[in-house]
Symmetry: C2
Subunit: 122 residues, 2 copies
DNA sequence: CCAATATATGTAGTAATACAATACAGTAGG
DNA sequence: CCTACTGTATTGTATTACTACATATATTGG
C-alpha cells in the first residue's frame, strides 16, 4: 500500500492540534475529526484509527482527562477536557511549531515576502 | 531514552530539505549535516544515522544520483547530484510544505498578522 | 418497514523514519 | 602518541499515522 508523504508531515502536529481543540472547549473524538477537516479545509484529515489512540496517549500523559457522557439512554460519548499540565504543554508545543515552521520555511526560501520558490537549475 | 517531540516534526521535511540543498549544488552527507544546522541556526539538526539512510532512499527512488570522489589518495566522499525526477519531486514537496504549514498555522491561530496565540482558559 | 448512511469508539498489525549506539578509518594539531 | 574532527555506514528501537476490522446505535429516504 502506497503511503502519502503528507502522513509524515502530520506526525509532529497531531497531538498539538488535538490539544488545541480540546483547550477551546471540551469535546470528543468524532467531533475533533470533523472539526479538523473543516477548519483546515481538508489539509488535516485524520482517521479514527489515528485520533482514538492519540487521545488515549494524551490521557496517559496526563494532558487531558476523559469521562463518558450519555447522549441517549444507550449511546455514550467519551468527552475530553484539558488539564493544567496539558495547557502548559500546549503553549510549549505551539512555540515549537512556530520556530520549526519558520526555520524550515526560511531554509526553503519561503518567507512572508514570498518570492518565486521554484528551485534553481544549477 | 526520552525522545524529543521535534523528532516527529522533522519526519515530513527531512527528505525535502536534503533535496533542496542537493539541488543548489552537488554535495555530500557530512556537509549537509553541517549546512542544515548552520542555515536553520540549530533548528534542524539531523544526525548521521538519519542523513545517510535518507540519502540512500533518495537514490533508490531515483531523485538523486551519487558517485565517489577521492579527496586524498585514501579518502573518499560520496557526492550527490539531483536528477530531473528529483527536481520535479522537490517542487511538489515545497508546495505541499507551504500548504501544510499554512493550514496548521491557521488552525492554531498563528497567522502573518500574528496576534497573541496563548490558548484561552475556557 | 427496511436499507443505507452517519455517528461513535476502539483494536491489531503494518509502514515510515529519526534516533542512539556502534563501527571503521583517515586527518590535523598539540 | 593521543585527541578531536571528518566522513560514511549499519543495527536495532521508539514513535506514530494508517488500513482493516470490529461493534453499536441513530437517523433518513424510499
Amino acid at each position: 500500500m502506497k503511503r502519502q508523504y503528507s502522513e509524515q508531515l502530520k506526525k509532529g502536529v497531531t497531538e498539538t492540534a488535538l490539544l488545541y481543540l480540546i483547550n477551546e472547549v471540551q469535546t470528543y473524538g468524532y467531533s475533533i475529526i470533523k472539526e479538523l477537516e473543516k477548519r483546515t479545509t481538508g489539509y488535516l484529515k485524520l482517521k479514527g484509527g489515528t485520533i482514538y489512540p492519540a487521545l488515549q496517549r494524551l490521557e496517559i500523559k496526563g494532558l487531558v482527562k476523559s469521562w463518558q457522557q450519555w447522549t441517549t439512554e444507550r449511546r455514550a460519548r467519551r468527552y475530553y477536557k484539558i488539564t493544567d499540565k496539558g495547557r502548559q504543554f500546549l503553549v510549549k508545543r505551539l512555540v515549537e511549531w512556530q520556530d520549526f515552521s519558520l526555520a524550515v520555511s526560511t531554509l526553503m526560501g519561503i518567507s512572508d515576502t514570498a518570492k518565486a520558490t521554484s528551485p534553481n537549475t544549477t
